[in-house]
Amino acid sequence: MDFTLKKEHEMARTLFREFAEKEVKPLAIEVDETEEFPRATVEKMAKAGFMGIPIPKEYGGQGCDILTYAICVEELSKVCGTTGVIVSAHTSLCCDPILTFGTEEQKQKYLPDLASGKKIGAFGLTEPGAGTDAQGQQTKAVLDGDEWVINGSKIFITNGKEADVYVIFAVTGMVEKRGKMIKEISAFIVEKGTPGFTFGTKEKKMGIRGSSTYELIFTDCRIPKENMLGQQGKGFGIAMHTLDGGRIGIAAQALGIGEGALERTIEYVKERKQFGRAIGAFQNTQFQLADMATKAQAAQFMVYKAACTKDQYTKDHKTSYNVEAAMAKLYAAEMAMEVTTKAVQLHGGYGYTREYEVERMMRDAKITEIYEGTSEVQRMVISAALLK
């Protein structure tokens, strides 16, 4: 067992860190304050190839692995959780399902523009009555001639209004399963600008405030029949598979937020003086830092393990990574919340002000325990595997 990263991953980390420090960090406070999507940063990331890291070169991507993508999200999130999730949602929730379940035509049509960052991707599963319970879906798609007609709405959609390509889930009928009639869910690719596809409310959020979180509204929205993603009725499986991968991205985001807060705190406790000494000289501070660093390190191992397991799946299409992804997200998210909370505490009153970045990081951390499966859902996934 070798815990050292390969040369390409070390070089990639150097690249992501340099980019994050130079291009992302200076804007993080402003992005949070203004709640504006960092479009210029996304354009720079697109130019640098960050929007298509694990997409094969034949579809215009970088041809790298999931581990490289996870390191990218980690490094971006160290300085700005918003920027981290933009890449994560785009890559894991839109590019990945098209790459995994799309027809060759769909891949050729959508992936090159997504991988180059010319277009941004999003994913619409959650509805007012359907979050963790995907069976609560109300959005319907009905086949009319050569077109699917979609009606319904999706909420809390990351990259909402800024995206161009959306992977959307809708009920396409009822099927019998173990003697019960259940909803048949299918996946679709919907493009921005399709008549009948509009945007509703922009969410005002606690954290990751620069990410564009919108309601998507479909009113007799007609899309070509060939825009169904995967087979009819396989939508639930596609959604779950996609979220398994997405959890690695969010786990990497949580990891980065926790590590970022730790870095800021280490700098702060060396400088802040109380009772004539830097507060880092007090044993309480030292022990807190030791716990924070240990948990961040553990989270990093789990995130990288999950990423490497998904890379194995990419090669053999057999290896299961859902439990690794769930564990990584569960642990990294709870680590991020704990570490950022301790970071604020160690900053004292200053940590409660927006002048210090740990305040934002604590707000950004909370969502990682909620989206792409709450911590409770991760526990369900993990325990289900234990007890099957």
Partner: protein, 260 residues
């Protein structure tokens, strides 16, 4: 068009310079980076490649670990990397370094050689022009802009308060300033390719038309007695006066400083 870019792996002086007790640089204690002026030179070459089509070869002399800087250059878009490394080349000053690089470049076809103006660990600005002397080709130093016109290169050479536009027939050598451009980032895919790329490694035996007496520590006329952190040059003073007043002003200043 074939472009050769000379690059150097240098200690990152951003976090301060660390010295050994004997006054030499403590390289082990510092992170390494691609020398900023060289990176600008590489970016200039890559832009010429984007614009006109070119094969860009990067070359460095250094320890085996200097291979990293070649891979970084390939991850940015360079086509080939050549590492010149050999024990006998160690301890080289600018003379021995330029002899070595010229000896290596004699193996290559080139239209344009680009070097950085100077390296942040030595600040001599001598190696580039010396290479051109050894290869008997023209040099244009301190380039702030590089264009190609037919078989010539047109360069804006920077001065403190103006620039000169110079045209030289290729092959020629240009030394680049960090201010020349904003170097591109490596791409993730470029990094993966760069890590798989084969780096050509040359030693003493591969150097063409170079005497042993011009190589390494033995071939170095200069020896470093002591190194110290750079004292930044001041911004200077600009005055707008007519000719007679200017002369009086300068004479006054020189007297004030007891120069005359």
């Amino acid at each position: 068009m074939k472009i050769v870019v000379c690059i150097k792996q240098v200690p990152d002086t951003k976090g301060g310079v660390k010295f050994n007790p004997d006054g030499t640089l403590d390289r082990a204690a510092m992170m390494t980076i691609m020398n900023p002026d060289d990176k600008a030179g590489l970016e200039a070459a890559l832009r010429l490649k984007d614009q006109y089509g070119a094969e860009v070869t990067v070359i460095t002399m250094g320890l085996p670990k200097a291979e990293d800087v070649l891979r970084e250059a390939i991850a940015m878009g360079a086509d080939k990397g050549i590492l010149v490394t050999d024990r006998v080349l160690g301890g080289a000053d600018t003379w021995a370094t330029s002899q070595t690089l010229a000896g290596a470049i004699r193996n290559l076809e080139y239209d344009l050689i680009i070097t950085g103006r100077q390296a942040i660990d030595g600040d001599t600005a001598q190696v580039g022009p010396q290479i051109s002397e050894h290869l008997n080709i023209p040099v244009i130093s301190y380039a702030q802009d590089i264009k190609i016109e037919g078989d010539s290169v047109i360069v804006e050479r920077q001065y403190d308060d103006r620039y000169h536009v110079l045209k030289a027939k290729m092959p020629c050598l240009v030394t680049a300033l960090a201010e020349l451009n904003e170097p591109r980032y490596m791409t993730p895919g470029g990094i993966f390719d760069a890590c798989k790329a084969e780096i050509t490694v040359w030693g003493r035996a591969n150097l063409v038309d170079v005497e042993d007496s011009n190589l390494g520590l033995k071939g170095s006329p200069t020896q470093i007695a002591k190194a110290s952190d750079k004292v930044r040059k001041g911004a200077g003073e600009k005055v707008t006066l007519d000719t007679a007043e200017s002369v009086d002003y300068i004479i006054g200043k020189l007297k004030e400083k007891h120069v005359i």
